[in-house]
């Protein structure tokens, strides 16, 4: 009957009960929404960061950060190492990335733009969709087309359609080159001045069971050899669109300029304008060719089932590299030729490929193994700020809602002071009276949490994967054009806990005041 008494008391004072329930529901809804938005922002941020770097990254150069200018830091014959690390426990996929500093040119160089061109290699087995997922997700073949995965990528113009009679880009490159010394302009559209590229396995996709299938020519990302994916922003700057030719101008490992005409296979647009303005993507093989580092890569990105395992996996790789000297570094990069043979002087220093088996002091094998937390240490501070904002907002809501709820319950309790006084006089103990009030608070809290869940969760679950377009408003607040709220069990639990906590604290305060009140004063209340 005690529960019945609680229920009937709540129903009898239904106006106040409803007010308290709505206050709890509003606070819970606010916490759920704020948490979902913050989780979405954090998740998107982490996906963006790890999509670019992987959860664990192996890179050449044990003692310094990867420098897009310096093509000497490469992992030669990387495929063996990639295959080995891809088979490690908890690793879902591994893929190589090859960055080049380059100029993107159109209209015979009249319009050009500096970019970092990244050669992308898909993991042969896992085909990780999370490698550069933000780019993959927003691909489109036509300017202005709504971004979306799986767009129809038809056959583009063949290499034969590439513009001919390209101007001497050497002047342009010379003006930008950080290197000193002489070089020869090398065109990959015709015969290489260095001779034929070494034989290599036909690029293909190794599927489960060890079979090899040709990569689909319609695969949007990474682009096929001879194609390039650029951002909508860069396309707008250069006044170029999908299927049109562009020229990528860079330097190879010897410091010699090299260019290649490429077809724009697709355009992408992420929420990060800086990334869009500086990034273009090629087939990994194209990047190797341009860098004249056949069979080599700049870094291997590993994707794990759970990013929390990154440190353990990184340790495992370090052990592997330490126990297997030269693991994956079985000699010079295939394409590297000695200056004597090529007749070309390296612009600065020796190519690292020749002595890559020597270990640098920082990490085994002259490689650097880093987790996503180490790579993005600076950015993670921003995430901590997100969390701080979330805590502050939740705290504010708890205080505001708590005040309202405490007042409502207090009014409800002291409206019935004589009733409580009578029950105490009859023999109800103080703590039992306290328990009655807290039980009322708990019922109010549960009702509020239920109401908030019914009103909020379906809405959040109905948000499309691409998020909700908020346009310039979101950009103004630095959260991008799209909000992607993510409902997690922990955020719901946090909100439900906050709602319950607020109601119970409010009810507990009212119960405490009731506890302290003498029976005689309660009986005097009318």
């Amino acid at each position: 009957m005690i529960l019945e008494l609680v229920a009937r008391s709540l129903v009898r004072h239904r106006g106040r009960t409803l007010l308290a329930v709505v206050a709890v529901a509003l606070s819970v809804m606010a916490v759920i929404l704020v948490s979902a938005l913050v989780d979405g922002l954090e998740g998107g941020f982490l996906e963006q960061l790890t999509g670019r770097s992987g959860h664990v990254r192996i890179q050449a150069g044990a003692e310094h950060e990867l420098d897009a200018y310096s093509l000497e830091d490469v992992i030669p014959e990387y495929s063996a190492l990639r295959d080995r690390v891809a088979e490690l426990p908890r690793v879902r996929a591994a893929g190589a990335l090859f960055q080049l500093e380059a100029l993107l040119l159109v209209e015979e160089g009249r319009r050009n733009f500096p970019v970092v061109a990244t050669g992308v290699e898909l993991d042969p087995e896992g085909r990780p969709r999370d490698l550069l997922a933000e780019v993959r997700r927003s691909l489109t073949t036509e300017p202005g087309q709504e971004p979306g995965d799986g767009a129809d990528f038809g056959e583009g113009p063949s290499q034969a359609d590439a513009p001919e009679d390209l101007p001497p880009y050497g002047d342009l490159l010379e003006a930008r080159s950080p290197r000193e010394g002489s070089f020869r302009l090398r065109s990959l559209d015709g015969d290489s001045p260095y001779g034929e590229a070494p034989d290599r396995e036909t690029p293909g996709v190794e599927v489960a069971g060890g079979q090899t299938a040709a990569r689909s020519s319609a695969a949007p990302f990474p682009p096929d050899e001879g194609a390039i994916v650029i951002s909508q922003r860069v396309a707008d700057l250069l006044e170029v669109s999908a299927d049109e030719p562009v020229v990528l101008l860079s330097e190879d490992v010897t410091g010699a300029p090299v260019y290649r005409s490429l077809r724009v296979a697709a355009l992408f647009q992420t929420d990060d304008p800086d990334f869009d303005r500086t990034s273009v993507f090629l087939a990994h093989e194209t990047a190797e060719e341009m860098a004249y580092q056949y069979g080599a890569t700049r870094q291997i990105a590993l994707f794990l089932d759970d990013r929390a395992d990154a440190l353990a996996v990184a340790e495992r790789i370090r052990e592997m590299l330490a126990n297997t000297p030269g693991a994956g570094l079985g000699g010079p990069a295939v394409g590297i030729v000695s200056p004597e043979r090529s007749g070309v002087e390296p612009a600065s220093g020796e190519g690292r490929g020749a002595d890559n088996s020597s270990e640098s002091p920082g990490e085994p094998g002259g490689l650097r193994v880093r987790t996503w937390e180490q790579i993005h240490e600076g950015f993670l501070v921003t995430l901590e700020l997100f969390d701080l904002v979330r805590v502050l907002i939740v705290a504010l809501m708890v205080v505001v809602a708590g005040g309202t709820i405490a007042n409502t319950i207090l009014m409800s309790v002291f409206d019935r002071a004589q009733e409580f006084g009578t029950m105490r006089a009859i023999g109800l103990k103080r703590r039992a009276a306290f328990g009655l009030v807290v039980a009322e608070g708990a019922v109010v809290a549960l009702a509020g949490v239920t109401l908030a869940t019914i009103l909020t969760v379906p809405v959040l679950l109905a948000v499309p994967e691409g998020g909700v377009y908020v346009g310039e408003v979101g950009v103004a607040f630095g959260v991008g054009e799209r909000l992607r709220p993510v409902l997690t069990l922990s955020s719901w639990l946090t909100a439900a806990g906050a709602g319950l906590g607020v109601a119970l604290v409010g009810a507990g305060y009212a119960g405490y005041l009731l506890w302290r009140s003498p029976i005689t004063s309660l009986l005097r209340e009318e």
Partner: protein
Amino acid sequence: MQEPIVRTEAVEKTYLLGKTEVRALRGVDLTIEQGDFVSVMGPSGCGKTTLLNLIGCIDRPTAGRVFFDGHDVSSFSDDQEADTRLSGMGFIFQSFNLVPVLTAAQNIEFPLILAKRKRSERRKRVDSVIEMVGLEDVRDHRPDELSGGQRQRVAIARALVNEPRLVIADEPTANLDSETGEAVLSAMARLNYEDGVSFLFSTHDERIVSYARRIVRLRDGAVVGEGAR
């Protein structure tokens, strides 16, 4: 000789009303024997309710001692006081003080629940007291569906349901018309006579004093007269 059910020794009670001290009781000595039917009389503000509250373990004296069933309740803990009120006493209030969300039967049953009686025992006991006070027809009515007399009879039934040794009634007829008031007092007198329940009630209505077997007169917090009627 049998121990009196209630004994007070030089009980004093002082309230602070703002910065003013109000002496509600000034050294009251009183004894109530088992089976007594005692009326405390006096004008408003003379200390009747204060005295009843001290005897009923609802309040504590500023000085002096109160004994219930031979135990000094002045030194009881809060829980001991609650247990004493629950098992040894029944209360009837001037304004009935029923729980508005419970039915008449549930109001009557409430002290049995607090006493942790079994459901079957509770049902039997509730039926018994409802019959005793003649509320069979309205047992499932809420207080706001009952007349004043019916409410007070519910209050009497609630006070009696735990078979207390003493029923304390603070002006039980004050909110009733004279006819209903006399009916209620008749019921109390009958219970006292037939079941030996001790009654201590306060009133300033001279008309209903006739039901009391013993009268204690209070004025300005002190007993000014006492005797059998």
